[in-house]
């Protein structure tokens, strides 16, 4: 009888441990990780980017390009080409973004014009005030 009691106690103990070993991960699972990217915001003066030009910045370790498009205003696009990851450059003469690795071309909205990429460039939100632009 004593042995049985010991076994019952160990069963209870191990069973509770096993249960906790699932409940703990499940509870952590239910809380998705907070993206810490919310803090960094970059503010620029509008004068720094005349119409028809672009400025390359780094936002949260991601290279972005902010373009002052003729007639459509400012836009912030990721420079990471959606094909294999090279950084696209702004071609002000032809109004497009060109990737130097395999000649992928994107329009100034980020959409693919030609080349091996299939997805558009990632677009970042911009807050535009009278004198400044804020990314993020």
């Amino acid at each position: 009888m004593e042995r049985r009691q010991l076994l019952k106690t160990s069963l209870a103990f191990l069973g509770t441990t096993a249960l906790v070993s699932f409940v703990y991960p499940a509870s952590k699972f239910l809380v998705p990780p907070q993206k810490s990217a919310k803090d960094a915001q970059i503010t620029l003066d509008k004068d720094q980017i005349p119409t028809g030009t672009a400025k390359e910045i780094i936002y949260n370790e991601i290279p972005l390009v902010i373009i002052n498009r003729r007639g459509s205003g400012f836009i912030a696009l990721s420079r990471i080409c959606t094909h294999l990851g090279c950084l696209v450059g702004y071609d002000s003469f032809n109004n497009k973004l060109v990737c130097p690795c395999h000649a992928g071309e994107f329009d100034l909205e980020g959409n693919v014009l030609s080349g091996p990429a299939t997805k558009p460039l990632h677009r970042y939100p911009l807050k535009i005030s009278s004198k400044q632009i804020t990314v993020g």
């Binding site: 019952k8 160990s10 191990l14 070993s21 294999l84 990851g85 090279c86 130097p100 690795c101 000649a103």
Partner: protein, 287 residues
């Protein structure tokens, strides 16, 4: 009685009697069932390939298509029309100007031909000793000298070798460049291997793959300027960027180790539980 055996006998007869036709049928099965209509068999539907592999063409043409099929371009779905222009889906327009057909480039036009896609490499090549010599004299290395034309493989340090580089000058210079490239190139190799390993273990390596490719492409483009000092100066830059990727890779390996440890812990708990339950059961049965 017989009814018990009907199904297995039929199945056995079916299998045994087709044993002889097995090999050839499997090919047919795979071709008709598995590979059509959903998969686009690479090159088979291209008008270019169809003509240039037909019996009307000489062995030269067959050789070209054969070489292309083994190339890195072919593995990435880059076909004839991507470089030479023309329409691949329509035989009548396949070699027409209107569809951008360029034909084979003249020797002097080769860098621009490849540079239609490989823009950064072309830019660096043109300012290099190789590029200037080539433009001014028409002699010297162009892209195909080192990389071939149709049988282009993935570039590696082995392209810099004594046989290739001592055609115009001594190998000493090339050796110096190869040494300058060494640190960054070996880091690139290790990172590539590790990223492939991690990918097959289920880790999301998308961002690291893009960062790796970006650095790798920029470094290779820089090499084409054939400027040893520039390569040396930039090496520490690239080393730093690559070290960021290496840190992330080691984080991923740590995460994998944690997962294995946690699974092992759960495994042991359940082994313990099975033993306790079994002993408890025995104790009740002995009563």
């Amino acid at each position: 009685m017989i009814r018990y055996f009907i199904i297995p006998i039929v199945v056995l007869i079916g299998i045994i009697s087709t044993g002889l036709s097995l090999a050839s049928y499997r090919e047919t099965f795979e071709r008709e069932f598995m590979l059509s209509p959903w998969s686009i068999a690479k090159g088979e539907t291209s008008a270019c390939i169809q003509c240039h592999t037909s019996d009307d063409m000489g062995s030269e043409m067959h050789e070209i298509t054969r070489q292309w099929k083994e190339s890195w371009h072919a593995k990435n779905n880059i076909s004839c029309h991507d470089c030479h222009g023309g329409a691949p889906e329509d035989a009548s327009m396949s070699m027409m100007h209107q569809r951008g057909f360029k034909g084979s480039p003249q020797n002097i036009d080769i860098p621009e031909f490849c540079g239609t896609c490989h823009i950064a490499i072309l830019d660096n090549f043109l300012v290099s000793g190789h590029g200037e010599t080539f433009r001014n004299t028409g002699e010297g290395p162009n892209c195909t000298t080192c990389h071939g034309s149709h049988n282009v493989q993935q570039a590696s340090m082995d392209i810099i070798n004594e046989q290739l580089c001592s055609q115009c000058h001594t190998y000493e210079r090339a050796k110096e460049m190869k040494q300058a490239l060494f640190t960054v190139e070996s880091k690139l190799n290790t990172i590539n291997k590790n990223l492939n390993r991690l990918k097959l273990l289920g880790i999301a390596t998308d961002n690291q793959e893009k960062s790796f490719f970006r650095n790798h492409a920029e470094f290779r483009a820089l090499f084409h300027s054939i400027d040893v000092d520039a390569v040396r100066a930039k090496s520490s830059d690239y080393t730093q960027k690559l070290e960021i990727i290496e840190r992330e890779i080691s984080e991923s390996f740590k995460q994998l180790a944690f997962r294995r440890n946690f699974s092992a812990y759960l495994f042991l708990i359940f082994i313990g539980l099975s033993i306790v339950v079994f002993l408890l059961l025995k104790s009740y049965e002995q009563k």
